[in-house]
């Protein structure tokens, strides 16, 4: 039941990405290319997604627990640190170079396009490299890796 539900949720997300144009690097990069071939579509994707989550989260989080899990697992941190801002900076640079973000690229794997496979392989390598560095830092600070 949980697996089927999660599959359908992933499918809705993947359909949304496909319909919105977020799976297309040219379209994503054109959102930022204000001085060139500007395409403001991405703002409409964000608006559509935020309207639904803004209202939907408030209704859902009024409940005591989710339907298929013990509790809500929300990120609790509210402080800003160097890792967050540095990470977001590097992510933006990579996004601006490649035109794919993880949410656009993972569904785009379903198109069978070989460029997407190259991007996702590099993405996974970057995640694993960063996790190694993070666990090294934690060890040095005397925390469990």
């Amino acid at each position: 039941m949980r697996l089927i539900t999660c599959y359908i949720i992933g499918l809705v997300f993947g359909l949304g990405i496909s319909l919105s144009g977020m799976a297309n690097p040219a379209k994503v990069l054109n959102f930022f290319d204000v001085a060139g071939s500007w395409d403001p579509s991405l703002a409409f994707v964000m608006a559509g997604a935020l309207i639904v989550t803004f209202v939907g989260y408030r209704l859902v989080l009024k409940r005591h627990a989710p339907l298929l899990a013990a509790d809500f697992q929300l990120p609790k941190r509210r402080d800003l640190d160097l890792s967050l801002i540095g990470g977001a900076t590097v992510f933006g640079v990579g996004w601006g170079i490649a035109g794919f973000c993880p949410g656009g690229a993972l569904p785009a794997l379903g198109t069978g396009n070989s460029d997407v496979v190259v991007f996702v392989a590099a993405l996974v390598a970057g995640i694993l490299a960063a996790k190694r560095v993070q666990s090294g830092w934690r060890k040095r600070a005397g925390m469990p890796a």
Binding site: R2, F13, T53, G56, L106, V116, Q134
Partner: protein, 144 residues
């Protein structure tokens, strides 16, 4: 750069579906719908059940373009303006960035902003700004 059509209605509808998926994942599994979180958790799963739901979400995501093709009769467009080495460099930087930054466009930009998280609002403003600057600099470098 490759010209693309301005598609406000399609993009808005696509965004609504993305938001719907995020709300449904919170309602059922109590989790934030972040592509980074789903993928990173798959690479280092905490348990078998943790692996299971993430793999199911990912499989669903990958089925998205196939479902889209069945409905509309054509695959969603994937046009890559840059060379393969740039995709590799970009992908690696995105992987490093989303790990240290703890999220991407879906996790911070949609789910986090909807919860009015100061970390997500800051992260989103930061990566939108640096992506914009990067696109501008690459465009100037290529003389377009």
């Amino acid at each position: 750069m490759i010209e693309t059509l301005f598609t406000p209605l399609q993009s808005l509808a696509g965004g609504v579906l993305i938001g719907l998926a995020a709300v449904l994942l919170m309602a059922t599994m109590g989790r934030v719908m972040g592509a980074t979180g789903v993928l990173a958790g798959l690479l280092q799963p905490l348990s078998r059940s943790d692996l299971g739901w993430r793999a199911a979400v990912l499989l669903g995501m990958v089925s998205g373009p196939i479902g889209f093709t069945l409905v509309t009769g054509s695959m969603p467009a994937v046009q890559v303006p840059h060379s393969t080495p740039m995709l590799v460099i970009g992908g690696f930087l995105v992987g490093i960035g989303v790990t240290f930054g703890a999220g991407c466009t879906s996790g911070h930009g949609v789910c986090g902003i909807a919860r009015l998280s100061p970390r997500s609002i800051t992260a989103t403003l930061t990566f939108m700004l640096t992506a914009g600057v990067t696109v501008y600099l690459i465009g100037r470098g290529m003389g377009t």
